[in-house]
Amino acid sequence: MATKAKVRTGRRPVSRDRADSRFAAAALAPAWIFLAVLIGYPLVQVLIDTFNHVNLINPAVSGFAGLDNFREVVADPHFGGAVRNTVVWTAGSVVGEYAIGLVAALLLNRKVRGQAAFRVMTFIPWLVPIIVAGMTWAWMLNPDFGIVNYLLTKFGVIDQPINFLGNKHWAMPTVIFVNVWRSFPYYTISFLAALQAIPGDLYEAAQIDGASPWRRFISVTMPHLRSVSLIIVFIHIIWTAVNFDFIWVMTEGGPNYATITLPILIYRYSMKEFNVGQASALSTMMLIGTSLIFVVYYRYRRKLSEEIVG
């Protein structure tokens, strides 16, 4: 009996290690297959198509294009406007979401009766399909029968109903407004989690020192939100800049290109003009942009960690 046990313990680590490795590889395989076929391969394909003439429906179009696709993108009369709109759309959305998300989190963090119900209500917009958020607001903002225009004219805020989505000056602020409405709960959830992690005695100490509520917010609350702020702001910069759905369902880039953004241009190049090379070149440019944003994030993150640790 004794020898048998010894043999087993002697042999086990080797075979178990190998069995473990095999198990780990087998269990990761399905995830890898999905990521490789549906993210890795398309990614490589985008990079290849960027430098080639490719047409979605006409296989006769082929050949090396060099930098032609980039030139075509930059020469597109709507490219400059799309870049500017993408920046406005992204910056406006992220600033609005951050402000409302933070205020909502501070309010929902107070211990008041009905807190749970208020929290649930605040998170509901985030669950809605983008198309539903877009359509519901489009209906509410409708110039002829919309409730918003009715109320605004009734209370004398405006004289004439505003065609929010049909007017080129109003269209962009309006889609930003609707995006903020749907996206801010994500910030609130993240901020709430961070707020709950702040030790209560910090506030007590600040209060004993005579710090005003505003002072406590600046000196105690905000420093504890830096880390979470950094990550959600950067994630949302990327998510918003590449978002196709919101603008497409509300304005399709109109009126008269007033809300056209880069993802919409990609869609137009590929699905309307079937110019895969040009669409890929723009995708590549956006991938480079995304990577740069990621590098900036990474450096900030580093600096912040160093500050927090020591």
Partner: protein, 280 residues
């Protein structure tokens, strides 16, 4: 005394602001439902009524029957449920390995790959994905959507489940292995039953993401018999640009499953979001 009145005032202010916040969040849903329940001429009234004078379900019956939303709901259910189950199986396996073999090189590499792939937005891969689906011959089918949705939720599901596995002590499964359970058997019979709350919240995330997705459904599918509900609303708007009552009824139908799930399971859901949100 002063601090007490101050606190009262503060609470009052908080209530006022919380009420305004709730109205801002909830009113569009209220208005969606009210408009869906109004007859056509009341929808297009100069002075909107806050509650339908003649409450009617004609918008719902017309959308479900004449405009084929029964099919779209079925398609969305099939696609979202399949994507949810498939991504759960895949990310339970991957999440388990991430948690238990975190020192392996393979795991570190996979972790990095998932982080990166999570940062690559679907729209930038739109064209090659479309061509890949076409080459696989699954463009006009549920399968293209199921595969795409599964892929894009795998990373986050894996991260969330891996941290759930972290909270389960190794000793538990070692005992089961000593009792002669294989590794898969141990996961299935011993660990998964304890993890049901996490699995439910991850599954809900996958389901809702798939149910709400618009772009792939809009581009991969052009036949009505495979169309899912979110693109269907877009096409409905294009074809019936003035039928706001019908459009709102369709919106209610699209929101209903998600809202129900959320209201009944919000405890699971909020906890899962809070733990997963920050890691993003």
């Amino acid at each position: 005394m002063k601090t007490r009145t101050q606190r009262r005032l503060g609470n009052l202010g908080a209530y006022v602001l919380l009420t305004l916040l709730s109205i801002y969040c909830i009113f569009p849903f209220f208005w969606m439902v009210v408009s869906a329940l109004k007859p056509k001429r009341e929808v297009r009234a100069r002075i909107p009524t806050l509650w339908p004078k003649d409450l009617t379900f004609e918008n719902f019956t017309s959308v479900l029957g004449k405009h084929g939303f029964v099919t779209y709901i079925r398609n969305s259910m099939i696609v979202a449920l399949s994507a949810c189950l498939l991504s759960l199986v895949i990310s339970i396996l991957a999440g388990y390995v991430f948690s238990r073999f975190f020192r392996h090189h393979m795991v570190r590499f996979s972790n990095l790959a998932m982080l990166i792939s999570q940062m690559i937005p679907g729209v930038l891969l739109l064209v090659p994905l479309y061509i890949t689906m076409r080459n696989l011959g699954i463009l006009e089918s549920y399968l293209s959507l199921i595969l795409a949705y599964t892929t894009f939720v795998i990373p986050l599901c894996t991260f969330m489940l891996s941290s759930a596995f972290d909270s389960i002590p190794m000793s538990l499964e070692e005992a089961a292995v000593l009792d002669g359970c294989g590794r898969l058997g141990t996961i299935r019979r011993v660990i998964l039953p304890i993890m049901i709350p996490s699995i439910v919240s991850v599954g809900l995330y996958a389901f809702i993401t798939a149910w709400n997705e618009f772009m792939f459904g809009y581009i991969f599918i052009s036949q009505e018999k495979y169309r899912t509900i979110t693109p269907a609303i877009m096409f409905f708007k294009g074809a019936n640009s003035v039928d706001w009552g019908g459009l709102m009824a369709a919106s209610v139908i699209a929101v209903l499953p998600v809202a129900m799930i959320f209201l009944f399971l919000q405890r699971y859901f909020m906890a899962g979001l809070m733990s997963g949100a920050v890691k993003g």
